[in-house]
Symmetry: C2
Subunit: 159 residues, 2 copies
DNA sequence: CTGCCAGTTGCAAGGCGTTCGCAGGAACGT
DNA sequence: ACGTTCCTGCGAACGCCTTGCAACTGGCAG
């Protein structure tokens, strides 16, 4: 998935509620799709397609990488899954949560901070007022240098 | 170039001043490098490597794409060139300017707004105060929906 | 001005993440 | 149980970028 699907988010609690929604969308609930969902729910953190295809390193049924991408796409279209990108790395996929998520990334150490949108509303408002842009940090994060790395950078070069 | 080179920016006015700086760094000033610089200066806007390799569509000397990437890398290391990314597309390269640039991207229509860092300082400060992160929008832009697309989206769905 | 040699070049192959075409296979309404 | 339609795995291909290699060349030593 290279772009974010704009459709409404449909948070689901478990594989079965997700399956119910899939059926209500006219999608089939195949073994491969069920497996993708199982893995995403089990992991509890965003995963790369590769890792899903591997069955979460063997703990679940594995499937074809191409099919995983197609299924993630279908699930994202249905609002059950969403994805985002940290820098240039492969996309990360997660089950849609009731409260959306946005991200901040430290380009130096790779640390990721996950926040709910309300925490970025002041930032968003400033950007909207100044530029008319309604910013989203859910698909592409805010990138910068975290406090720790700033400190480290401030100490080391001093010497 | 997949990551941003951290070195200091070295703004140059033209190919010759850039060449002088290159030599002062111990780099050779080859025909291919001169051509990359000529093209970047002539274009006056950020370019994709592909476009540089093509000699700006035939108007300049063309060169090998691999060499273009290597040269852009070398020039970026030297501070003469920098690059950024708009979404998933290929990187965009430009000559370093005295005043750095940051970007805002409308994910809907693709419009790009280029601003100087001061215009984003309030945003940056808010983020720093709340999260300790020193944000940069020079390598990855702020992404969202621009005023025009917001309006269009607000009208159309009503019908 | 000549010659040398590390730094560069062009070419081709390779890598990563993702997409696509295809033919066989399975979900689900009837 | 059946058939249609969607989905699957496989392999090939793509876009963007990197890399290995042998030939070449910039720029300093002499």
């Amino acid at each position: 998935m290279t772009i974010a699907h704009p459709g409404p988010a449909v948070p689901t609690r478990d594989v079965d509620s997700a399956a119910a929604h899939m059926r209500s969308c006219g999608m089939r609930v195949s073994a491969a799709r069920r497996s993708v969902l199982q893995i995403l729910f089990a992991a509890g953190e965003p995963l790369r397609a590769e890792r899903i295809a591997s069955g979460l390193d063997g703990r679940f049924a594995s499937s074809d990488l191409g099919s995983v991408y197609r299924n993630l796409d279908a699930l994202e279209r249905a609002g059950i899954v969403r994805h985002f990108h940290l820098g240039h790395a492969a996309g990360l996929y997660a089950v849609t949560t009731p409260e959306p998520r946005e991200y901040l990334l430290c380009e130096t150490c790779g640390a990721v901070r996950e926040v709910v949108p309300a925490q970025l509303d002041r930032v968003r408002r400033t950007i909207r007022e100044r530029f008319g842009l309604e910013a989203r940090f859910s698909h592409f994060p805010i990138v910068g240098t975290c406090a720790g790395c700033l400190r480290a950078a401030g100490e080391a070069p001093g010497r």
